[in-house]
Subunit: 193 residues, 4 copies
DNA sequence: AATGAATGAGAATTCATTCAT
DNA sequence: TATGAATGAATTCTCATTCAT
């Protein structure tokens, strides 16, 4: 299955044939259909499994106590570092979620979109929590700012992971912590208004 | 051709069949091949035509004179407003460039990637210009910040245009100017460090 | 038309597209159909025109008077020299008749076959004439020997013109007269029994 | 596969559609591509398999010991009888090699040409052997005579198998042995100079 | 559980021919 | 006469899926 994930990530959904998947796994075509209902279902399952893992990372960073501004930037940076590290260790999953999934069939695309909806929801909760704890000013356009924030994070993540040419094997020169801190600074300043 | 663009944008490259394109245009299958070498070449041509138009928008916003900080935010907001308005009026093109292109065949993907490389280059020049004019502090990690900036812009653009579900017909509640201004503020604060 | 002949000879009937023919002639596709009913008819016409020319060559060599054995070999060699020279000057025609024509459509193939039937007939008449003039012994298996004779001639002609790889641009090291004389010797000895 | 060979022989390469082949075999179109990479590869494989079989026939006739002139004619006649019998039992193969193959695509044509190159080589070796054994005079133009000899054989073979109209179902009135003997006589006289 | 041969519904593309101008 | 855009039927090939073993 992780072999299939790599293939989807590298070649895209449509350019990954069932025959490619079984070849890489060293089994027969028929065997594939004993394990998976269809190619589409396999892709959806891969995405949903990935969604769970991704959510766990974000939930762990969920803000619990109030703190100073410094605390806030630091905890944001920590969460983003976790996220970037997770992403780096799950490149094929991220490639499917960030880049290749949208070229697939409707149900696969929906699974990808759901993943990012959940992701955004988690961030919204986190920002809301910061407002509750009065670490951030409450503004009317919170939703817009969170939108921008999530766009910033996925945008940076994509570029950091895959570079400008969307190469699955791209390796950024920046370590996760550095990109996370810089992004957190953008985030903080942006959210502070 | 713009009909094909819409189809690519809506259904993706692989799920848009040549038969769909000709049906929507009301011509025969053979006629398609009188005008286009292949489906792949058509997609590439659409992307390259779009790239030109997109570049024109950005070039017009190129910074010429020094100015105050306020000037800078305002001129950035103006450029972004132009960009968002262009994107809004060329939703199908942007869908292909931002979302659907990466699911296509290698040469099509390359054309998309080239478009964003050029895009990033233009922004880098613009920021460099601002540094020359001493509107921005020169920092070592300019490249990283521009990367983040471009990620921010494409991320916001994608979400504003197509919403969280990547729906081609999505309509944001924010007008171009507002999203542009808010993004410019993020940008400015981020770039100022 | 001679351009079409060359294309048929080089690429074969099916691999020569009407679009190739018109391109080489510098006219439009439509114009082709003003001059020729169809691609098939064009090929047939080319073959039938060639048949006429080929027949003229053989008819000129038709035996009129009795002569010595030496006369006979010499007149045979002369006929074959004429034939080989004609063939050399009409390589594209010969390629179509000897090699490429059989890959074409039924009616084209028939035209080719008819050409060789006529060719064989002419040789049969010539041998008959030699028997009448008592230059050759009358044998029961004349027909078989003429068959072998014609096979010999077309076989040698093909190889001499196009070499072992059937290359239209092949150039034999033997001049027409030499190959003709050698073939005539084979012929004479064969026919004499 | 032998069904495909028959179709190629009867209708020619281009007029034999993959759909014809699968229809005659009673399988689906997809099955064809399970067994063969492409129509072209199938034709090439058929030709190369045939080449092997044809070579075996000629190799068995390879001259080993010196003998009288009579021996030579007899052994030549025996080889040719074998060849004609083989050809008669492999009419479809011979039709492809002798007639239809040249109308096909370049790679198929090359496979056919290679077959005849090998064939000629084998005959050249055989004649050389006869010269070594001093059964034939050594002459300068051996190469020319072998060329003529091979032309004679393929020419006679073609006519004997398929008649003047190149009809795959043609049946000559001469038995293999008779045509072989007559051809051997032509051959012998020709080679003796 | 596993195989691998078989399927068949399309897919892109080709090309001889037609036709309005 | 000549054009070139348009046609559509035909063709090769693909590939997710099925099924007998």
């Amino acid at each position: 299955m992780s072999l299939a994930l790599e293939l989807f990530a590298r070649k895209g959904y449509h350019n990954t044939k069932v025959s490619d998947v079984v070849k890489s796994a060293g089994v027969s075509q028929g065997t594939f259909y004993w394990y998976f209902e269809s190619k589409e279902k396999l892709a959806i399952q891969l995405i949903e499994d990935g969604k769970e893992k991704l959510n766990k990372v974000i939930e762990q960073g969920y803000r619990k106590h109030a703190g100073s501004v410094d605390d806030m930037v630091r905890s944001s940076a920590r969460l983003l570092t976790d996220l970037f590290e997770f992403a780096d260790q799950n490149r094929y999953l991220m490639a499917l979620l960030l880049i290749k999934g949208q070229g697939a069939d409707p149900l696969v695309r929906d699974a990808v979109s759901q993943t990012w909806l959940t992701f955004e929801e988690a961030f919204k909760n986190n920002v809301n929590r910061a407002i509750e704890l009065q670490m951030l000013p409450s503004t009317i356009d919170l939703s817009l700012r969170v939108t921008i924030l999530v766009s910033l994070i996925t945008g940076v993540l994509t570029k950091w992971l895959f570079g400008p040419m969307h190469d699955v094997d791209y390796k950024s020169t920046y370590p996760p912590s550095e990109i996370a801190e810089e992004t957190a600074r953008f985030e903080f300043r942006g959210l502070m208004g």
